[in-house]
Structures are given as C-alpha cells and as structure tokens.
C-alpha cells in the first residue's frame, strides 16, 4: 500500500492540524524546560484517552451530517453506573459489559428515533443528554469512589515505552479505537456509505444504500464509543459522579472540527479527532506550564482555533467551487469543433 502524502485540498486540514501540533509543541518546548519529554507527550494521550474515543465515535455521526450531543452525559452516566455497580460488589468485567450494552442501546434508541420519525438529531440527542445526566442523578447525587481491585489495577497499570516513560491501558484502547475507525471508514462498505449519506442522503437512497440502517448504526457507534469512553474515564478518575465532564460534548465536537471533519457532513478523516484532541491537549499543557494563567485560557485558545479552522474549511470549499466554474468554462474551446447545432426547439 503506497502512502500518498501529497498535499491537496482534501487533506490540507489534516496537514494544518499536524503542523499546528508541531508548532504548539515546539513553542512549548522552547518556552518551558521539561516540556520536551516523552512523558509530557504520553500524558497528552493518557489524560485525553476518553476524549479521543468519544470524539472518534462522534465523527461517524458528524460525517453523515448529524450530531450527537449526548456523549458527555453518557460518559458521566457510565461512570456513575460503574461506580454504583462496583460498590455493590459486582465483577469488574461484568460491569464493563453492562456499560457497553447500555451505551449501544442508548445510541441505537436515539438513532431509531431520528431515523424512524425523521426527527432532528439536535433535538433527539439534546433530550438524550438531559436524560442521561438526569438518570445519573437518579442513581446518586454524590460522588462515589471506586475501590474495586480490578479497576484500580487497570488504572495504575503502566506500559513502559522509551525507557521509564509509560502509557496507560486506556491509551492502548483509544489508539485501537482510532485504528479500527480509520479502517472502517476507508475499507468497508458501511464506512463509505456513511460518507455517501453525508454527501447527499437522497442520492445515497436512490443508489440503493440502506440509509435507515446506516443512520441507526452511526448513532449506535457513537453510543458505544461514549460508553467505552466512560469506562476509560472511570479508570482515569476512579470515581463516579454525575457532574463529571459538564459540556465535554462541545470539546468532542471541537476536536472533530479541528481534526478536519466537516460539520455539514460528507468529509473528513477518522484520524482527525485524535489530532484535534492532541491539539487542545497541548494548549492545556502550555497553559498549565505557564502557571499564572487561568485554565479558562485553554477554552479561549481552543475557541480561537475553532474559528480559524472553520474559516479555513470555508475558504477551501469556496475555492473549490470557484475553480470548478473556471475550469468548466475553460473546457469549452478545446472541445471538438464537430456538429455545433443548437437545440433550437420551438
């Protein structure tokens, strides 16, 4: 398989995100001692593993032209459910299985409502967001600390890479999710159909693609990824609390946009959300290293980046349209001089 690394209009956003990562990381390294170490780099992944998983699942939904606002609430809900079940003394692996099933069912239900009743995904997943958040209140209003042996073991497990630097189990899970997502998007009929629906749902339908099934499926994937993200987040926090990650769905959407997933659907690379997350992770680290800045500066910087990237996407789309008009007009004179009759109908 030959890798095509030529920069063109299709991958320019991915390349600019990569460039941005290098620049930001370089800036951090120059400004602060101790920034340019493997562990700081690995920590970006360790701290954001859950977000990578959630954003990758969300990317499928966004590519079809939809949105899933419920992801953060599902993560919080899963953390509460895990904590509560583990407190009851249930087996850790059974708890994880239950969590994943909850995520799948939650996502499938949202997808079914959106597809079957032709409801707007904003509305349905907004409802899902309140529902999941509310349901976690229903279980407990307190933060539950997890003391389960398996969970703490997984949480503390260090995989050594490059000397004594390490990554966590969660990072492996997150990278596996990204790898599978990249494969599915490029090499399966389902993945291409997701893009087709984002391009034109009507056309996809007329070309005989199972649009309803795919629609339900992308929300199911998002639900599954949220649940998996929830489990990973629970490893990270070792607690369940319904106020965890308020507003994280917006971080996930932002990661997708910075990673080049077009919000109007139909375009993007599945490695994008990972890059988007790393990007905002670096900003967060820089703010941390700076020391005197409030953590809100991360939000300000991410907001600014988002604006830049949306502008960049828009410019590319406009340029593409313009070039088409021009090349279309330029095609004319070269064509054969053959029969130039006019369709002079009466």
């Amino acid at each position: 398989m030959k890798l095509n690394l030529r920069i063109n209009q299709n991958n320019i956003i991915i390349f600019s995100t990569l460039l941005l990562i290098v620049l930001l990381y370089g800036a951090g390294s120059v400004l602060y001692t101790g920034f340019f170490t493997w562990q700081v780099f690995f920590n970006l992944f360790i701290d954001n593993a859950y977000l990578i998983i959630v954003a990758t699942g969300l990317a499928f939904v966004i590519i079809t032209g939809g949105i899933d606002l419920s992801v953060a609430s599902v993560v919080a809900f899963i953390s509460v459910v895990s904590a509560a079940l583990l407190q009851e003394g249930m087996n850790a692996y059974v708890v994880m299985a239950i969590c994943l099933i909850i995520g799948i069912m939650f996502g499938a239900a949202q997808g079914y409502l959106i597809q079957r009743f032709n409801l707007h995904p904003w509305i349905v997943t907004l409802a899902g967001m309140f529902l999941a958040r509310g349901a976690s209140y229903f279980i407990t209003t307190q933060s539950i600390v997890i003391e389960n042996a398996t969970y703490t073991a997984i949480s503390k497990f260090k995989i050594n890479l490059v000397g004594s630097n390490f990554i966590s189990v969660s990072v492996v899970i997150a990278l596996a999710v990204v790898a599978v997502a990249v494969y599915v998007a490029k090499y399966t009929e389902f993945g291409r159909s997701v893009f087709a629906i984002g391009g034109s749902e009507r056309s996809a339908m007329l070309m005989g693609l199972p649009v309803p099934r795919i629609t339900v499926l992308v929300y199911t994937i998002s639900g599954f990824c949220s649940a998996l993200g929830g489990i990973v987040f629970t490893f990270y926090m070792l607690s369940g609390y319904n106020l965890h990650l308020m507003g994280m769905e917006m971080d996930a959407i932002a990661a997708c946009v910075i990673g080049g997933i077009l919000l109007t659907g139909g375009f993007g690379y599945l490695v994008g959300p990972l890059l988007g997350v790393i990007c905002s992770g670096i900003i967060q680290t820089i703010v941390m290293y700076q020391g005197t800045l409030s953590s809100w500066w991360t939000k300000i910087a991410v907001g600014f980046l988002l604006f830049l990237f949306i502008l960049l996407q828009r410019v590319i789309v406009i340029r593409r349209q313009r070039r088409r008009v021009i090349s279309h007009a330029a095609e004319k004179p070269t064509a054969s001089g053959g029969d130039r009759r006019t369709p002079a109908s009466i």
Partner: protein, 510 residues
C-alpha cells in the same frame, strides 16, 4: 420484430386523487433503439416513467420485460430487475470519488475489505466504454455537470440489463455536451440497449431517436418512426391542435425609444466576467448569447448585484453605481428571473399569492406589510394577465407545472413595476405551448415600454424576441448583431470564432 421487444407496457392506467394521470397507455421499447417519449407538461410522461421505475404503483395494466411479467415496487427493485434511470438532477454523491459513485452499494471486495485498486480499474474500464477518460480517484464534485451526468449514466448502464431511461438528461447541458452525450447514447444503442429518452427539445429528438411515442392528457396518441413524422405533426399531436412553424416565428416589430435604461461600461469581475459594455434602451429587448459558462449568467448576476463587480460602471436610468446588491437593484426597478427557478426562483412551500408578492414586499421593506386584500388583488391581476392556470391563488406553487411556475416568477417581478427585467433561461424545461406564451409575453412587455435583457440557450428564441444580441465567449464580449444579421448561423459563427462586431451599436440607434 417481436423477438426484438425488450420492454412492453400494456394498457397502463394510474389515477391520482382527482386526476386520471394515465389511461390505458401502451408503450413498447425494442432492442437497439432510442425511443423518445414526448408530450406537454402534464401529459403523463413522468407518471409513466415513475410507474415503470416503481415509484408509483399502477392501478391497471401489465409490464413485461423480455417477455416476463414484472412488477417493480420501488426504484431499487426496478434497478435489480435491470431497469436503470438517470434523472435530470444528478443523483450521485459529490463528495465521493468517481469510482465510488460508480460502484457504491456493490463494491468489489478482497478479504472483506474494499478492493480500491480493482474498483478504480473497473471504473476506468467502464468509463472507457463510454469514451470517457477521467481520473476516477478525484471527487465527483470536481467535474462539470455533463461529466457527472455521464458518470450517472455509466453507473446506470453497468447495472442495467438492457433498459436505460433518460429523463430530461440534457436540460442542464450545453450543445457541446449534448453531442457528447448523444455519442454515448448511439454507442449504447449499437450495443443493443433500449433507451427511453424524455426531453423537451424537438431538435434533439430528431437528432438521436428512432421512434417517438406521444402522450397527451394521460392518453396515448400514437407511436411513430421519427424519420416519418414531420416536426409540425409531432407538435400538433402533442398539443392536440394544428400547429404551423411559421406561427411561432413572427418577428418582433421595433418598439424601443432612444432613452437608455441601463448601461454598463467595462463591467468586470475577475475570474468570471471580462469587461462587458452594453446598453439597453427603453422598450428594447437585448439578448445575451453564448455557451453555458461563457459568462452570460455571471454578467446578469453582476447587474443584479448577486456577485460584486471588481471594476466598471453600471448605470441605471440616470444614476451610476460602483457596486450593486439585490436589494438596491430591486429599489432601482430591476427584476431578475434566475436561471434555475427550482433552486433560486420559486419558494415551493409558499402559495402562488405569496410567491407573487414576495419581491414587492422586499422592495417595500419588511415593516411595510402589504395587506392581504391588496395581495389578493395583485395576485388576481397577474394570474389573469399572464393566464396562469391554477384552481386557486392559495395553491402551493410546487403543484404548478413548470411553465406556470415561470409565469408566477415573471408576475413576481412585474408586480414591482420594474423598468428593467433580466430573464435568464425563461423557457428552460417547460413545454412547447407555454414556451410560446412566455415569448409572446416578453414581446408584449417590451411593447409596453419595459426593457428586457434575455439570456437563452435557444438561439431561435432569442432571435425572435430580441432587437439586438450581444455575444459572449469565454467570459468575454466578442460582438453584437442586430436586425437581419441575427441568424443562428451568424451567432454560432461568432460563438465559435469570436468574430467581430457585425454592426456597431451607434449604427443601429434610432
């Protein structure tokens, strides 16, 4: 002959609530022929196609494909049976590559993964069959509408088992592209395919088809061999009364005065229009000719201010403008019927009345609400004046036929009492009868003192309506002709060769 029959529809009837759309229509498609399906709007062409492709179920009748009775309950099912359809609007995904658009839903796989290499190779081979050489890895959106249309046809051909339906595939193509499409159709015909061709362009029918089936008011008029049916009897059969070509070709008498209504001086927009200078006098009809993409629509957009000009001066009446926007243009008495009425013209969800008062309301500003009674008065006036066929002004506009929709848009601008009207392809996609009516209307309006700038792909139409024709080529003004010099040959020559000005503007002046 019977062995050659590919598709046979027998005695097909279909009733919609209140309308008998098809009554006892029969249709036969043979192997290796291009068969035109003709009729005015509302004659039942679309319904027949929709019954055939499984969009609608028929009430009565039988469809046989290669001697086997079939019933398609959905477009997908028709597709599986081997009946492929290509519609006027392209039903492909612009964001996917050409190869994907050809094969999605049935991609070649290797060990469970999409085999991109094979898919790209297969695509190239398939397109070569249609004499197309494209980079199949490029996204479809990078290609012209004509190429996209061909890709749609390639997909349909590959999936079909001998029957291909082309529903007005040429209405957004220019002559060159139409010829390209016809070459492909001829090739497929020679390979033994049966092609149903629906179109409004009579010349194209004579160019390409072997047989014609005519429908009128949901009933079959007859099936004819194209070579044995004269154009005038074809039209007479379609409209159901005698029709002579000469009736249509009446010449316009001079009606303009010397007062200049609108003029441009070197109006330019980089990348879309090179400097254009022209003027339109009161009561004069000026035509803008040129191929699709020659800058004619782009120029109209500049005058109405949809696009901003980079340099040049626009004069309306006695005022000159450096820049224009639609709101200002409407205030200054310019009306604009855009090229694609479905996209940029009608507001499908609104009623006829609402569509008519739209521009007037915009001109008055949103805080100056036009009372309902006044709206009804205006709507009634124009429905009568333009003879818009509708049971009520409160009908949703998308229930009207194309010709009547176009009239509503004309009414919308006439209601603003404009001094200049820009018409971009006013008769595209509408039937023969309505075309004549709209042309007559244009002439009448000019006579009443309205200045009109008209853009049309149909040169004959422009020659009949216009006092002068300005020719654009490659986004550049290449010449201007008027009077007896306005012939199709002359215009085509200018478009082809970029020839000089036949007659200077000053000489044609009053």
């Amino acid at each position: 002959m019977n062995g050659n029959v590919l598709l046979k529809m027998d005695n097909v009837s279909k009733t919609f609530p209140g309308v008998k759309a098809l009554s006892g229509v029969s249709f036969t498609l043979r192997k290796g022929e291009v068969h035109a399906l003709m009729g005015e709007n509302g004659a039942g062409k679309s319904t027949l196609i929709k019954v055939l492709t499984g969009v609608h179920a028929m009430d009565k009748g039988e469809v046989q494909l290669k001697g086997r009775t079939i019933t398609a309950r959905s477009p997908q099912e028709a597709q599986t049976l081997g009946i492929s359809t290509v519609y006027q609007e392209i039903n492909l995904c612009p964001n996917l590559s050409v190869a994907e658009n050809l094969y999605i839903g049935r991609v070649p796989k290797r060990r469970g993964s999409i085999d991109w290499k094979r898919m790209n190779e297969d695509s190239e081979r398939l397109l070569k069959r249609l004499n197309l050489n494209l980079d199949v890895k490029q996204p479809l959106s990078g290609f012209s509408v004509a190429i996209q249309q061909m890709v749609a046809i390639a997909r349909a051909v590959d999936m079909s088992s001998g029957v291909l339906i082309l529903d007005e595939p040429t209405s957004s193509l220019d002559n060159q592209e139409v010829q390209q499409l016809f070459d492909v159709m001829r090739k497929l015909r020679d390979e033994g395919m049966g092609i149903v061709f629906v179109t409004h362009f009579l010349d194209q029918v004579y160019d390409i088809t072997d047989r014609i089936t005519i429908l009128r008011n949901g009933a079959l008029v007859g099936e004819y061999e194209t070579s044995k049916l004269s154009k005038s009897s074809l039209v007479s059969n379609m409209i159901g009364r005698e029709w002579r070509e000469e009736d249509e070709h009446r010449k316009k008498e001079k009606s303009y005065s010397s007062e200049v209504m609108m003029s441009t001086q070197a109006l330019t927009r980089v990348g879309s229009v090179k400097p254009v200078s022209l003027s339109v006098r009161k009561g004069e009809v000026v035509g803008l000719a040129g191929l699709l993409g020659s800058g004619r629509s782009e120029f109209a957009n500049l005058i109405f201010g949809i696009d901003q000009s980079d340099s040049g001066i626009l004069t309306l009446g006695s005022e000159t403008f450096q820049s224009m926007n639609p709101k200002k243009a409407i205030r200054k008495g310019v009306g604009f019927c855009p090229e694609d009425r479905k996209v940029a013209g009608i507001v499908g969800e609104l009623t006829i009345r609402e569509n008519i008062v739209l521009a007037l309301q915009a001109k008055k500003g949103i805080f100056n609400y036009i009372p309902l009674k006044k709206q009804q008065e205006i709507a009634r006036k124009f429905i009568d004046l333009l003879r818009i066929k509708t049971p009520s002004m409160e009908q949703r506009i998308d229930n009207l036929s194309g010709g009547n929709q176009q009239k509503v848009i004309l009414a919308r601008w006439l209601a603003t009492d404009p001094s200049l009207l820009i018409l971009d392809e006013p008769t595209r996609g509408i039937d023969v009868g309505s075309k004549g009516e709209i042309r007559k209307l244009i002439l009448d309006l000019a006579k009443s003192g309205l200045s009109i700038l008209i853009i049309s792909s149909e040169l004959q139409e422009m020659i009949e309506c216009a006092d002068r024709i300005v020719v654009l080529r490659d986004r550049m003004q290449v010449g201007e002709i008027s009077g007896d010099h306005m012939t199709e040959t002359n215009i085509m020559k200018m478009i082809a060769e970029g020839g000089g000005t036949h007659e200077q503007y000053s000489q044609t002046g009053s």
